[in-house]
Amino acid sequence: MEKIFLLLIFYFLTFVYIHPTSVNAQDNEIELGKSSKLCANCHGSKYYSFFNKVTEEQERKRMNPYFFIDTVKYLQGVHKNFSCDDCHAYEYRTYPHLAELKLEPKFSCIDCHGGDETFAKYQFDDIEKEVENSVHKTAFGFKFKCASCHDLHSYKPVARDENSMIKEIVISDNQMCLSCHNDLSKYQILTDHNSPELIKTHDWLPNQELHFLNVRCIECHTPTTDTLMVSHKILPKEEAVHLCADCHSTNTILRDKLYKYAVKQSRSDQGYYNSVILNEAYVIGANRNRYLNWISLIILGATLGGIFIHIIMRIIKKK
């Protein structure tokens, strides 16, 4: 019970942190397009109203929460310049929506971003290859889509934003995993199985809460890759990192994962490898400051040298 409570707090904090509700859409310079405003009249609110031609009455109903689109977050996301009908059928403009519209195929990221030089730096094609080999795609095939993890209506590339704090990256990325792994209703869209109990399956991990809040699930659940900013090949649990020293050592895998973008930045700015780890986070074993190392070695050397000379003097005098 206590562990479930802990997970709920973790999830709640994660949710609250990346969902700033105090921002108004009006504060953003970009506004929804005319056609999107039409959709947002209903889908941008918890309630919608319409004139019922059958009863000839104005009706007010609750919006299905899964079809609610937070326009504030939409306008902060990477797809903010898109109109709803860029991705959804034009026929959605009429209400009631036609029943067959529910069957329209959804776009995958690669449908727009694949093979396009404009988005080459995001390496969508390489990401697709990794996803194909991930444990999710292997288990669920075509049912598993980019949108299963990435909310296209609010997605922001937090890890690529040089202004992002490491903690923001962790919360944002872990939220993607938790959106299924801590929500049975979404989890069971893909399977009838019960979601593994995260707290229980990670019982072996010392300082579990600290790890959950300070590193991303993918640090352990993806292989280290040189070519991609974020590996998308989620590994089977048996292949996940279990060795503490993989992170807690000088050659920490975190340098090629969580701190990748920031390390690249600081390498060019400051020229030494762990400056980011030194400033923003502390990972035992991974944080080594070369100056402190040198100073401590000099002090230790001087101490042992002094003792050695004293011993020699004692031996000489004894003779």
Partner: protein
């Protein structure tokens, strides 16, 4: 010739000293292993080192508390106090004895007595270790044990980072103290005499 014996180290002090020494050695080994261990050459496996460091650290913390209470209830605390006036001169005198007078067979500048069981160098270094290095290392250690207690950021630097670096630096100086302490204890006519004293409580001249 009958040896002059002084009972300087009561049982509680010897028990504390033994536990403290053991804890510091375990903390040094596990701390070094965590800080400098690599995947290929771990001194001790990281997980074991963490458990070892946590247990030894907790024990060292309680042992320190025991030492403070012991000093408060007995007169042992007076040996860690010193008059600032002339202290540098006394330190220099003792230092010169170790560097030169000792080799010339000169008499100790500050002979050991019941009231004055530490020479000025011992008095100063023990006081700094027990009243500055140890408490700061223990407090930062508690902080790292419960990171939620630590400020998130202090002057744009991670609070945990600052606490950990402080912990490492002060822990390092305790280790340096231990090395010097162990060596200096061997200085004397018989190199093993002082080690024997801390076991049986009697100082022999």
């Amino acid at each position: 010739m009958e040896k002059h014996k002084l009972y300087l180290y009561p049982v509680w002090l010897r028990v504390w000293h033994g536990i403290n020494a053991l804890c510091i050695i375990l903390l040094m080994i596990s701390g070094l292993s965590m800080q400098f261990g690599s995947i290929d050459y771990p001194l001790i496996s990281f997980k074991t080192a963490v458990v070892m460091h946590n247990i030894a650290g907790t024990l060292a913390g309680f042992s320190y508390l025991f030492f403070i209470i012991g000093n408060f209830l007995s007169d042992n605390g007076m040996h860690y106090r010193f008059r600032v006036k002339g202290f540098v001169d006394r330190l220099t005198k003792q230092g010169m004895y170790y560097l030169s007078g000792y080799f010339k067979g000169e008499a100790k500048p500050f002979p050991i007595s019941k009231e004055n069981k530490f020479n000025p160098l011992q008095r100063g270094s023990y006081a700094i270790t027990m009243y500055i290095l140890m408490p700061i290392t223990i407090v930062t250690g508690i902080g790292l044990f419960y990171p939620e207690l630590i400020f998130d950021r202090i002057f744009e630097i991670s609070g945990v980072q600052l606490t950990a670096v402080t912990h490492s630096i002060f822990g390092f100086f305790i280790s340096i103290f231990l090395v010097i302490h162990l060596y200096v204890a061997s200085i004397g006519k018989n190199p093993l005499r002082n080690y024997k004293s801390i076991l049986n409580g009697y100082h022999e001249e």
